[in-house]
């Protein structure tokens, strides 16, 4: 009746219940070991402290780029309740509908519990207002700082490069040295000197709570390491010269390279068209980048180191040097030219017909006689000392290579191009082994298969100015707080001696080049009081337009160095499709030289700068394409807004179809014709 025995059953039940709990605890706390790591992942935030990247200074100590802070307004959707959202709308000048759309899209992107960017790179005005009032919106909204580069001179975009977030490819390539979210130099000096500029990342272990908010340091910072700022670069660049060079290339395709011959230090390196480097900072980078990428004039393309042009007549001084050194001509060697070279099957036209314009080497250089240089090229190749054409050509090629032609110079910018000096195998293949000095006689006047980059041409001027040697062109003179381990600059301290050619021959060629400016093809480039030695070039070129190979307007070349006696600057200028070398490239180069040597320009010369700056030299096709792209862009912007709305309204419906159609349309518009080969 009293069920005494049942107390034991109840005790058993209690005991079993507690045993179940304890067994589970044994499993949780003793057996399975991964909970400890999970807890760490959960609560300890390994925060990488990004050091300030190093600053890049020009030769006069002016900083070409700076570090500034941008602020993003971040949103944490779970914490929005009870916040003054209307206040946020007022500050950001958006309406409630837009506000809701943004909240929803951030939830779609990152979920409710993770912060996402609500407004990136706040304008100064909204930032000031927000900073004062942010306490009213916390923790639903908060400000996050983000270091970005800024470029006070808005110049040297191609030289400096840009910084961007690493992608998965880079992660793999660098063996996960970087982590997602890191920024690194992606091009230009930023990329080349990344190890110097990036400094050393710091790590801070922070404890965070369930909302990912930082609560404090982990173990009082025992495991933390401080960030070490990146080191500064001192360059040879003259930023004022650079700015002017970019002005001179405005609305033109082309490049300007100015080098200090004694050191190989690059004073200015401009590629036209260029862009404002500030466009590629911060969150605008992606949008602007893709736009720049689509531009038919290819503003992202660094023509100074990657543009490959036939050098045209600018190669003639080298031809003269080779012929002299080979001994196939003497300084007084002359040629009677009547307006063309008839030595080979096809006549090569010459600009000059008057007798005596090639009566000796200096004359021929000054007048840029095609016949003369075709002839001495053939003499060099067919030099009896070399026994046959192939050997002669190989020797000629060795000369060219030692002058830096057809090889990568090794400038401190990534992805430099080598230009092109054909190998004998090239001709063997092309002409089935039966070719002669006539086959490639055009090489003698810088045409044919030969291609060179503006940097190589400027370097060539350095060799001639230095009478036989050069230092690899480079930007960086020194690294602040340099370490023994900084080997990056070592290669630039090596003097490269070109095939030994006597100084007397250089003197002769130098004088010939001075004649070019004083009374030859480039009188327009003359600078009062400065002995400028230069050479014009007018390079024929072909492009494929609408599927047809067409001859395009000639590239305008000018290479020079000054002063002739004691050269301080060597310049190469190319302006695409601008006609004679003396019309555009010459005046541009002369302005560069004058600006650098005199440190200032007269009123009159500034007017000349403005005149050149105002001149637009673009192939009609580029203009047409640009206009098409512009209208497409506007259309796309409209459609994007539409897409955005669709995305917001129906997150689950695939809207890519629409995008694809627009994109396909887009690609077709660009694709058919404007070819890579034509630069």
């Amino acid at each position: 009746m009293f069920n005494q025995s049942r107390q034991n059953v109840i005790r058993l039940i209690i005991f079993v219940a507690f045993s179940v709990l304890i067994i589970r605890l044994i499993f949780l706390q003793l057996v399975s070991s991964n909970y400890d790591n999970l807890a760490l992942d959960n609560a300890v935030n390994k925060k990488i402290i990004f050091p300030d990247r190093g600053i890049i200074f020009d030769r006069n100590g002016k900083s070409i780029l700076e570090n500034t802070l941008a602020y993003d307004l971040m949103i944490l959707p779970t914490q929005l309740k009870g916040l003054d959202t209307a206040g946020i709308c007022r500050i950001l000048k958006i309406n409630l509908v837009q506000f809701k759309e943004r909240v929803i899209s951030s939830i779609i992107k990152n979920g409710r519990y993770r912060p996402s960017v609500f407004e990136a790179s706040l304008s100064v005005e909204s930032f000031v207002q927000l900073q004062e009032n942010i306490f009213r919106f916390e923790p639903g909204f908060f400000l996050q700082e983000r270091p970005i580069r800024s470029y006070p001179y808005k110049a040297a975009a191609h030289v400096l490069g840009y910084v961007g977030e690493v992608d998965s490819n880079i992660l793999k390539r660098t063996n996960y040295f970087y982590q997602l979210g890191d920024y690194m130099g992606l091009s230009g000096l930023e990329r080349y000197y990344e190890p110097v500029l990036m400094g050393q990342r710091g790590v801070r272990y922070q404890i965070k709570d369930n909302k990912n908010r930082i609560v404090g340091a982990y173990e009082k910072g025992k495991f933390d390491s401080t960030a070490i700022a990146g080191r500064n670069l001192r360059t040879y660049l003259d930023i004022d010269l650079q700015v002017m060079a970019e002005r001179l290339l405005k609305n033109k395709l082309g490049a300007i390279v100015a080098i200090e011959p004694q050191t190989g230090g690059i004073l200015a390196l401009a590629s036209g068209p260029t862009y404002d480097p500030n466009q590629l900072t911060g969150n605008l980078r992606k949008a602007n980048f893709s736009w720049l990428l689509r531009d038919t004039s290819r503003p992202l393309f660094n023509r100074a180191i990657k543009g490959q042009y036939p050098p045209g007549s600018t190669i003639k001084p080298v031809g003269a040097l080779i012929a002299l050194d080979e001994g196939v001509i003497g300084p007084d060697f002359g040629l009677g030219c009547s307006g063309a070279y008839y030595g080979c099957r096809r006549a090569i036209a010459c600009e000059h017909k008057n007798p005596g314009h090639a009566s000796n080497l200096r004359q021929a250089l000054a007048n840029s006689c095609n016949s003369y240089f075709s002839h001495i090229y053939r003499l060099a190749i067919d030099n009896p000392a070399e026994r046959n054409t192939v050997n002669g050509y190989l020797r000629w090629k060795r000369y060219m290579n030692s002058f830096g032609m057809g090889v990568k110079l090794g400038v401190d910018l990534p992805s430099e191009d080598r230009g092109f000096i054909p190998d004998t195998s090239f001709y063997n293949k092309l002409y089935n082994r039966s070719w002669s000095s006539c086959t490639n006689v055009f090489l003698g006047i810088g045409q044919g298969e030969m291609q060179a980059t503006p940097l190589q041409m400027a370097n060539l001027m350095c060799v001639i100015a230095n009478k036989g040697y050069y230092y690899t062109p480079h930007f960086v003179r020194s690294i602040d707080n340099a370490l023994v381990s900084d080997t990056l600059l070592n290669v630039y301290k090596v003097r490269h001696d070109v095939t030994k050619i006597p100084d007397s021959m250089y003197n002769l060629v130098q004088l010939g080049m001075q004649d070019v400016v004083d009374r030859g093809t480039a009188v327009g480039a003359r600078i009062a009081g400065i002995a400028l030695a230069g050479k014009t070039g007018t390079a024929e070129n072909y492009g494929i337009i609408y599927g047809k190979r067409e001859k395009l307007a000639n590239h305008s070349w000018f290479v020079c160095f000054a002063p002739r006696e004691n050269p301080k600057i060597a310049v190469a200028v190319v302006v695409e499709n601008a006609g004679f070398g003396s019309t555009w490239a010459g005046p541009i180069a002369s302005l560069i030289v004058e600006r650098y040597l005199k440190d200032s320009l007269s009123q009159e010369r500034w007017k000349e700068v403005e005149r050149i700056e105002g001149k637009e030299i673009l192939l009609p096709i580029i203009k047409t394409k640009r206009n098409t792209l512009d209208s497409l862009r506007n259309e796309r912007l409209k459609k994007n807004q539409l897409n955005f709305r669709v995305e917001i309204l129906m997150p689950s419906v695939p809207i890519n179809k629409k995008k694809k159609i627009i994109l396909a349309f887009h690609l077709n518009a660009i694709k058919p014709n404007y070819e890579e080969k034509f630069i």
């Binding site: 069920n3 209690i14 507690f18 605890l25 909970y35 959960n42 709570d209 369930n210």
Partner: protein
């Protein structure tokens, strides 16, 4: 000892009082460890703004109440049991028109700053009333009518509580079946309901077909081992086969049917979440609203359980030490000072600490059972069993849910969880028992 206090203190089970005080102090320490945020500790304890200072205040109030209870005549409780019960029911009913909405529950009445949760308090009244009924002189508990009345006493407040969206608190009332069992409820009812519960849990844990095979092989083995008895009476074989058929039927058909057609998908998901499984739902059959609900519930349910398991698991053998737990210190575990307070012990003091705490609880429950068995009056014994059952239920469900073996049901850990009503309720429950126990020689019925 003073003369007047002698009477009060005589017969008091100081061991239980000691365990009680120890648990409350551990609770306050845990709340402190969870909510302490580098403020001045002394100021924190006296500010009454921090949770640990508030809990200390509740402890003080509880102590005063405990003394008052000890001062009360033990006959008072049995005499007023029914009145209190009806008072409790009226309170529960009054909740419906007068409740304040707090975090989705409809069980709280608010008088200015003071909050009252009758569903919590009612446990005391139901325990008293049940004990009173079970101790009636003319009771024959083998009769269905008496069993039915006892169940009504328990289930009426339970149902009212369910209507207040407090399923967890309502489930506690089922603990009183243990009391009824002790007082003569046929064991079959307990066995069957327990077996079905076990079967349902196993269904969740083990693949349907594998479980069917296990059950079948168990039945075959059983038949093999008791084949001699079966030879004597065929009805045993018949019973085994019936039980086997029912079990397989439940696990293979009834439970899936119940989950797929009776429960809402998000509820099923929550149940599955506790055993760490994903519930496979046929999404096409669901309305958009259901999917939305599920997404939310899935995250919340999984999140709590996962985080608390990580916290406890991270404690390891000896734990990270007080205030050192990264999980419990930084709000990773939601509701941590209340329902998930065990995490703090689990992370801070590891397996050893958890074992000590569980032993303390086990000791307390066993102690209460022993005390129950030494009573001479049925009222006191039934009451004591009621206290033990409620405690056991709370402890098992609460800790079970923090370590992921029980679905997340919001009930507090006795004496430890933050909250005034809960602490006071358990204090009153325990100290009435202590008072009754102190007078065990005086009360016969």
């Amino acid at each position: 000892m003073k003369k007047n206090s002698f009477e009060i203190s005589s017969g008091i089970d100081w061991v239980l009082v000691g365990v009680y005080v120890a648990l409350v102090l551990i609770g306050i320490t845990s709340i402190f460890a969870t909510t302490y945020r580098d403020e001045n500790i002394i100021a924190g304890f006296f500010s009454l703004k921090t949770d640990y200072s508030k809990q200390s205040l509740y402890f003080l109030i509880s102590a005063v109440l405990a003394v008052l209870i000890l001062l009360t005549d033990s006959k008072f409780f049995s005499a007023t049991a029914n009145i209190f019960y009806f008072f409790g029911i009226i309170l529960l009913i009054l909740v419906f028109p007068f409740h304040t909405d707090v975090k989705g529950t409809k069980s709280i009445i608010r008088f200015s700053t003071f909050q009252l949760q009758p569903a919590e308090l009612c446990k005391i009244f139901v325990n008293l009333a049940l004990a009173k009924y079970l101790s009636s002189v003319d009771l024959n508990f083998t009769k269905f009518k008496s069993q039915f009345i006892a169940m009504v006493i328990v289930l009426v407040p339970a149902i009212l509580t369910i209507f207040q969206n407090e399923t967890g608190l309502a489930l506690v009332y089922f603990a009183f079946f243990l009391v009824m069992y002790r007082e003569g409820l046929p064991s079959a009812i307990l066995t069957i309901s327990f077996s079905i519960a076990l079967l349902v849990v196993l269904t969740l844990l083990i693949d349907q077909n594998i479980l069917a095979i296990i059950l079948t092989s168990l039945a075959v083995l059983l038949i093999f081992f008791i084949r001699k008895q079966i030879k004597k009476s065929k009805s045993i074989l018949f019973a085994i086969i019936t039980i086997w058929a029912v079990c397989v039927g439940i696990q293979k058909y009834a439970v899936p049917y119940f989950f797929n057609h009776v429960l809402k998908p998000y509820q099923v998901q929550r149940i599955y979440a506790t055993v760490g499984k994903d519930f496979q739902v046929d999404l096409e059959k669901l309305s958009a609203e259901d999917i939305k609900k599920m997404e939310g519930k899935k995250k919340a349910g999984n999140y709590n359980v996962k985080q608390s398991q990580i916290a406890i698991g991270a404690g390891g053998f000896i734990g990270k030490g007080l205030l050192k737990g990264t999980q419990t210190r930084y709000d990773f575990v939601p509701e941590q000072r209340t329902d998930f307070i065990f995490c703090t012990i689990g992370e801070g003091f590891g397996f050893l600490g958890s074992l000590v705490l569980l032993s303390l609880y086990l000791f307390m429950v066993f102690r209460i059972i022993s005390m129950a068995e030494r009573q001479r009056s049925i009222f006191s014994r039934a009451y004591a069993y009621g206290v033990a059952s409620v405690l056991l239920f709370h402890i098992f469900i609460n800790i079970g849910m923090t370590i992921g073996i029980v679905p997340v049901i919001g009930i507090p850990l006795p004496l430890m969880s933050y909250g005034g009503t809960a602490l006071i309720t358990f204090t009153v429950l325990i100290f009435i028992l202590i008072r009754l126990d102190a007078d065990r020689h005086m009360i016969l019925r």
